[in-house]
Symmetry: C2
Subunit: 490 residues, 2 copies
């Protein structure tokens, strides 16, 4: 398979699909809409998981595991939730197969479930059914639980990482004694996601609130982080929901407060998914392949020896071994690719495609001169550096690359937030420039729908840092107190 990618300018969507497959991140499986996450893609997810899990635990959360299947009746208990989720679910109806008279495998009609089971699209219902047993008194609160799991939503149009019928995620589900505490929790996790996106993914995000229309089914408030992809489309990267008492009322979860009175519990839920890998790709990568921020790169440094014979390779290996040891001792993940089955040029292209942040090439002349060639993936620049202090040079460079990637993405994002004051301008900017459009909106769901129908743009969020400003809705001219951010989105 050729490693050459379609350029982003030619066809951004094709570029993305090719990149995911050619960089060995994921591929479609034989099951409609479901992907196989390949080892290199999964290694990125493991790095994301490790960092997020640490942040969750540092903020007092514990992991647990709840059933994959949810009885159908549970979904009916929370009215707005069932509308939002029930429609796109995989349904288990039978529990046995058998061989028919011809020896063919068929579903055993005798093994029909009394009540159908839904493969979890999200776990609020099964978890609140459980919390009913766990919560009696204010002493049991807050309950701060997270789950790492797979979920299924029957999507009709799927794309690797961005929208798949099954995906991996984490879902936090917390229970609190007061409204203020639950709100503070939802805000805290919103900040955790922001920090993760910025510090680890090197991806700037806008912190905001969703409009009522775009909220999670059952939430009173949905906080979101919205990122901007290189093609000018937005991507919702993580959400944190203040659920009020809707689930505790639906599942009758009460606690005895300090005064001995029964009250309904307050709730939050929050999640990020393997979709973040899609966001990571579309934030940094280029026409040569993946570009990974060092903090999430499975391989941070690759060393490619340039040699003609075993003797030369031995010399290089001897030189390189202590460097590898020293780098690993400093927490840098290094790969020494001394395979003889592939030529250096092939390896260079391979690691460029796979987005390894730093490449070291070392040949016989470098051995003589006490140097190595160091190539940066982000800038594609090369330089000859001394072997002395190489560990420090590399750890500094990795940090610099991380920062450079963030600043580049931030600059792109900041130049792609455009204030518009008329619907004509709105449409022009959306078509010609893309990005976020800061516009006045009259606050009605009708206008939201109408704008989406006319332009495909949706309200991504009401930014938390947006200032009050009197204006008129771009569509209806009705009065508005602040601008909201529109964009076409993934």
């Amino acid at each position: 398979m050729s490693k050459k990618l379609t350029s982003r300018a030619t066809d951004y969507s094709k570029w993305y699909n090719e990149l995911v497959v050619k960089a060995d991140l994921a591929e479609n499986s034989g099951v409609r809409g479901m992907m196989v996450i390949k080892p290199y893609g999964y290694a990125i997810w493991e790095k994301m998981q490790a960092e997020l899990d640490k942040m969750f635990k540092e903020t007092g959360h514990e992991n647990a595991y709840f059933p994959l299947f949810i009885p159908k009746s549970y979904f009916s208990k929370e009215a707005s939730h069932v509308d939002g989720f029930a429609k796109e679910c995989a349904v288990v109806t039978h529990y046995r197969l058998k061989n028919d008279a011809d020896g063919k495998v068929i579903v055993d009609p005798a093994a029909k479930l009394d009540e159908e089971l839904i493969v979890r699209p999200t776990s609020e219902t099964i978890i609140w059914d459980t919390y009913k047993r766990w919560i009696e008194s204010y002493r049991d609160l807050p309950l701060l639980i997270n789950q790492w799991a797979n979920v299924v939503r029957w999507e009709m149009r799927t794309r690797l990482f961005l929208r798949t019928a099954e995906f991996l995620w984490q879902e936090g589900h917390t229970a609190h004694a007061t409204k203020a505490e639950a709100l503070a929790e939802a805000e805290q996790m919103h900040q955790v996601y922001t920090t993760f996106a910025q510090n680890f993914m090197a991806m700037p995000v806008i912190k905001g609130r969703k409009t009522a229309n775009e909220r999670f089914a059952g939430a009173l408030e949905t906080f979101t982080i919205e990122a901007l992809m290189q093609d000018g489309k937005a991507l919702q990267a993580g959400t944190s929901h203040f659920l009020g008492q809707s689930f505790s009322k639906a599942f009758d979860v009460k606690f005895t407060n300090k005064e001995g009175k029964q009250e309904n519990v307050w709730a939050t839920s929050w999640g990020v998914t393997t979709r973040l890998i899609g966001a990571l790709i579309m934030t940094h990568s280029d026409d040569n392949g993946l570009v990974l921020p060092p903090k999430l790169a499975p391989i941070q440094v690759v060393i490619v020896p340039i040699f003609r014979n075993d003797e030369q390779l031995d010399l290089i290996t001897e030189k390189v071994d202590p460097i590898i040891k020293a780098l690993r001792a400093n927490g840098v993940s290094v790969k020494f690719d001394h395979r003889t089955t592939h030529k250096p040029g092939w390896k260079f292209a391979e690691y460029e495609l796979k987005g390894v942040p730093l490449r070291i090439a070392i040949g016989p002349r470098d051995i003589e001169n006490g140097t190595v060639e160091l190539a940066r993936r982000d800038t594609l620049s090369k330089e000859i550096v001394q072997q002395d202090n190489l560990v420090e040079t590399i750890t500094d460079l990795l940090e610099e690359i991380q920062n450079t990637l963030y600043n580049k993405a931030l600059s792109f994002r900041d130049t792609h937030i455009t204030e518009v004051n008329s619907f004509e301008e709105f449409k022009t900017v959306l078509e010609e420039k893309g990005g976020f459009i800061a516009a006045h909106w009259d606050g009605t769901v009708e206008t939201e729908h109408k704008i989406k129908e006319l332009t495909k743009a949706t309200i991504r969020c009401i930014a938390l840092d947006s200032k009050e400003e009197a204006g008129n809705c771009v569509l209806t001219g009705a009065p508005s107190k602040q601008r909201v951010l529109f964009a076409k989105a993934y």
Copy 2:
């Protein structure tokens, strides 16, 4: 809820069920046969995962993720596999719910799948369907992949951790160019499981091979580790399968060898599950509650302050803080339970029930004397020790507890392997003593079935270290070349 457990002598099975629930490890959910793994139980699983994952990576394996659903037709491709697995599967037949005329949620009859999807009971079929795309040449081999995932097997009689309709596990699936390499891989992972059981779970195991009748559906050889529970019943704790070419033939996975010829690939698969938590419980715990080996204990040391007022607590906290820091710096996980909502006695009972290996109590008199009270969970012994060198005292003790637990379990196991030479003796030992019975067997599946029918005992394994010895089958008297190990099993 009373913390007092039914004693093991009174009712072992009841003791186990009560312990799992009272120690906050897991509980039954509202979904038939499916459990909720509570934070404390999940923390043990996380510790197991971390160690196993490290061992898998050190032996060259990478993680990946494959679809939850498997098209029904995939199962039919490997004949013996379908017989072993198809029967106990959850089947997805529909992909949408809707509201009926009365607003009730029903399965949308229009959303019926053309081909039913099976919720994976194990992933050989979907993975070998994928490997067909990944393997072309000998350069692509070996392929060494592991998956951490949930699986579903529709069990009729379930027990927390030991047998549940959904469980968590890892499944390794490897592909090799030669039979010898695949066999070596299966043996290597058999050893990895043995090392993990012994060094981390402090659980001695017998390494053996399964009889043809007890093999994994589709395997040519199944290696097993068999542990012995305190009630004299065996528990299969992990298996590693040499699959020959059965799956590569069923899914037509061939590679071009160095001579340019097409050959079928050789395969292995291997797995351990959340059942290991059940094994851990039943190996070490006692009538007071859980006993956890330090290497897998979520909390290794708990510090309980004894105080009457805030001033005393402040004094203790001041003394304890540097100890906690020093312990954590040495990789010891410590909890300082200074809650004022519960009395010291309640806390002592709580951490005893939860199997925390070491408990430190410290009160005003200890502050004066420069001492603490140290209590071991395994021996229930207490001693007063000096605060000086406490970190060394504790790290040494944790190691000693780990070894003591292993040796105790080993001694129990070794005194429960009994050689018998007649069927009368077989039945008597099985009834009165339990444990493994080393007996001659004529090598036929008929005899295996007959003995199971008469006694409920099965052949757990043919131990790898069993020596050749001429004898006669305990049931039929037919000649036999070696003893095999029978037991009643979980």
